[in-house]
C-alpha cells in the first residue's frame, strides 16, 4: 500500500487489490470523506493530516463487519447482447442466466453515475469484454457485464457494457436515504423474473 499525492486537498491510497482497498475504506470512511475505487481509496482533507491518519490506522476486516445486507434484484433476462455473451463465454443463454443468478455479487465501488455500482465476485465464466462500440443510449434498469464486473444502469446513459437483461429496481432515488440502493460491500443476488418485477 502506498499513499499517493492527489493535489492539495486529498490523498490517494493505492492498494494491490480490491480487497485491500475495501479494507482501508472500511477502516477510514467514518474518519474522513472517503471514496473507493477498484484498487484505491481517495481521502479528502489536509494531506498531512490524512497521511498521519493512514499511518496510525490498519485496514479493516471486510469479511465480518462490513459485509452488508443481501439485496435481491429481479431481472428479466432478454438483453440485446445475450447472444454475444453466449459466443464469448461458450455458455447457452440459459446457462448465462443460471451463472448470473447462481452466485451472490458484492458491491465493489461506484462512480460512473449516481447509484451505479461495480459488482464483483460473480461466476468467473461471465467475464466478457466491453462491446466494441458503445451504445449512445442504454435504457435505465439495463443489467450488464464488462470484464469481471456486472452492474445496473441507474438511468439512461451512453454505455459499452454487454446487456443481458433489465430490472425495475430503482437504483437511485434522491428522495430515499441513502439515495443509492447499493452501498459498498452490500451483497447482491439477481433473481430471474418474466416481467422484471419483484416475484
Amino acid at each position: 500500500m502506498k499513499v499517493l499525492p492527489c493535489g492539495d486537498r486529498a490523498v490517494l491510497i493505492d492498494c494491490a487489490s480490491l480487497d485491500e482497498a475495501q479494507g482501508w475504506f472500511a477502516a477510514l470512511h467514518d474518519e474522513a470523506d472517503a471514496v473507493l475505487g477498484a484498487r484505491t481509496v481517495l481521502l479528502r482533507g489536509e494531506p498531512s493530516d490524512l497521511r498521519a491518519l493512514v499511518d496510525r490506522s490498519e485496514p479493516g476486516d471486510i469479511t465480518a463487519a462490513e459485509a452488508g445486507d443481501e439485496i435481491e434484484i429481479p431481472v428479466t433476462y432478454d438483453g440485446p447482447d445475450l447472444a454475444d455473451v453466449a459466443s464469448h463465454t461458450g455458455l447457452s443463454e440459459d446457462e448465462i442466466v443460471a451463472a448470473h443468478t447462481g452466485t451472490p455479487w458484492t458491491v465493489a465501488f461506484g462512480g460512473f453515475a449516481p447509484g451505479f455500482a461495480y459488482l464483483v465476485g460473480g461466476d468467473e465464466r461471465l467475464a466478457v469484454p466491453r462491446r466494441e462500440s458503445p451504445r449512445t443510449s442504454v435504457p435505465a434498469g439495463s443489467v450488464g457485464l464488462a470484464g469481471e464486473f456486472s452492474g445496473v444502469y441507474p438511468r439512461s446513459s451512453p454505455g459499452g457494457w454487454q446487456l443481458i437483461g433489465r430490472t425495475d429496481a430503482v437504483m437511485f432515488d434522491v428522495d430515499r436515504d441513502p439515495p443509492a440502493l447499493l452501498a459498498p460491500s452490500a451483497q447482491v443476488r439477481f433473481v430471474e423474473t418474466r416481467s422484471g418485477q419483484a416475484p
Binding site: C6, G7, D8, A113, V174, P178
Partner: protein, 285 residues
C-alpha cells in the same frame, strides 16, 4: 420577490456550494465553477456561503425584477445594464420592480456570476441547488419564462466592491505531480509543465480539454477505475489532457498526471476556448 427570466443567454445554471461528501453514492460535488467569484457575490450582497447564484456562460442573460432587488455581477466581465443604464461589475446595484437587468456578452473571462440579496430559492436536491450537468441532479438549466424565487436578504453587505480577478493572455495555475505521474515518461512530465496548452472548444463543466504536445505513457496498461477530484488532469489520449471541473464523474479510468491546486481551479472556469494555459510545478505537500 422573484426574478423573471426573459432570456437565459447561451447557458445559465443555478449554482451554489454544491453537494460534497456524497462520492460513495456516486454523486459528484458540482457547485459553482468559479467559487471565488461566487464568494465575492456573497460578500457584496450579505448572503451566506450556501446561497445560490446564477452562473452565466458567455453572457446574454436578461432578467426582470418582480420586486425591488439588490443584485451584483462578478466573474467574467461584460456590459451590465438596468433598463439600459450601465451599472458596475463587482459592485451591488438595485433593480426596481419591473426593471430589466441585462448581463451582456462576456468579453474578458467566460462565466459571469449573478447574485441577488437573499439568494435563489429553487428546490434543493440532496442538500444543494447546484445544477450538475453530468448527473442531471439539481435544477434544470435556466429557461425563458422561469420565475426564480428570491429568499429574504440575510445580512448587510460585507464589502462595497470587489476586484475583477481576470487577466487577458496566458492563465497560469500551479499543480502537484501525481497520483499517476509515474505512468508517464520523464519527458512527458517535463513537457506538461513547459507547454503552452490551448483550451479546446469542447470544454465544459465536466472538464477543460487542452490541446498541446503528445504525452508519452511509460505504463500502457488500462487503469483500474479510481476516484478523482476537481482539478485532476486526466490524460485521455496522448495529446489530450482534461482538467476535471465541478461536474466530473466520481471515478475515472484514465491516469491523472497532475492535480491543480484547488483554489487555482477557479481560474480555469474563466479561460475561453482558444486561450492558453500553463502549469507550474508545485512540490507534493
Amino acid at each position: 420577490v422573484s426574478l423573471l427570466v426573459i432570456d437565459p443567454g447561451h447557458l445559465t445554471l443555478v449554482q451554489d456550494a454544491g453537494r460534497p461528501g456524497l462520492g460513495v453514492q456516486g454523486v459528484g460535488a458540482a457547485g459553482a465553477f468559479d467559487r471565488t467569484a461566487m464568494r465575492q457575490l456573497h460578500a457584496l450582497l450579505g448572503d451566506p456561503p450556501e446561497a445560490a447564484v446564477l452562473e452565466v456562460l458567455a453572457g446574454g442573460l436578461k432578467l426582470r425584477a418582480e420586486a425591488d432587488h439588490r443584485l451584483a455581477v462578478t466573474g467574467g466581465i461584460g456590459p451590465v445594464h438596468v433598463d439600459g443604464e450601465h451599472v458596475e461589475h463587482g459592485r451591488a446595484f438595485v433593480a426596481r420592480a419591473g426593471q430589466e437587468v441585462l448581463v451582456g456578452p462576456v468579453g474578458l473571462g467566460l462565466r459571469a456570476y449573478v447574485g441577488v440579496a437573499g439568494g435563489l430559492e429553487v428546490d434543493p436536491v440532496l442538500g444543494s441547488r447546484s445544477a450538475d450537468t453530468m448527473s442531471g441532479l439539481g435544477p434544470p438549466r435556466v429557461a425563458a419564462g422561469d420565475v426564480l424565487e428570491v429568499g429574504p436578504p440575510a445580512h448587510p453587505a460585507e464589502v462595497e466592491d470587489v476586484p475583477a480577478l481576470l487577466t487577458s493572455g496566458v492563465t497560469t495555475v500551479s499543480a502537484i505531480p501525481g497520483p499517476r505521474d509515474d505512468w508517464f515518461t520523464d519527458d512527458a512530465v517535463r513537457a506538461f509543465f513547459s507547454a503552452q496548452w490551448t483550451v479546446s472548444a469542447r470544454s465544459d463543466r465536466i472538464g477543460v480539454r487542452l490541446e498541446g504536445p503528445s504525452l508519452e505513457r511509460r505504463v500502457t496498461d488500462e487503469l483500474p477505475s479510481e476516484p478523482c477530484v476537481r482539478g485532476s488532469v486526466q490524460v485521455v489520449s496522448a495529446g489530450t489532457p482534461v482538467v476535471l471541473g465541478p461536474d466530473h464523474p466520481v471515478t475515472g479510468g484514465y491516469p491523472v498526471i497532475v492535480v491543480v491546486l484547488d483554489d487555482h481551479v477557479d481560474r480555469l472556469a474563466q479561460v475561453r476556448p482558444g486561450e492558453t494555459v500553463r502549469f507550474t510545478r508545485q512540490p507534493s505537500p
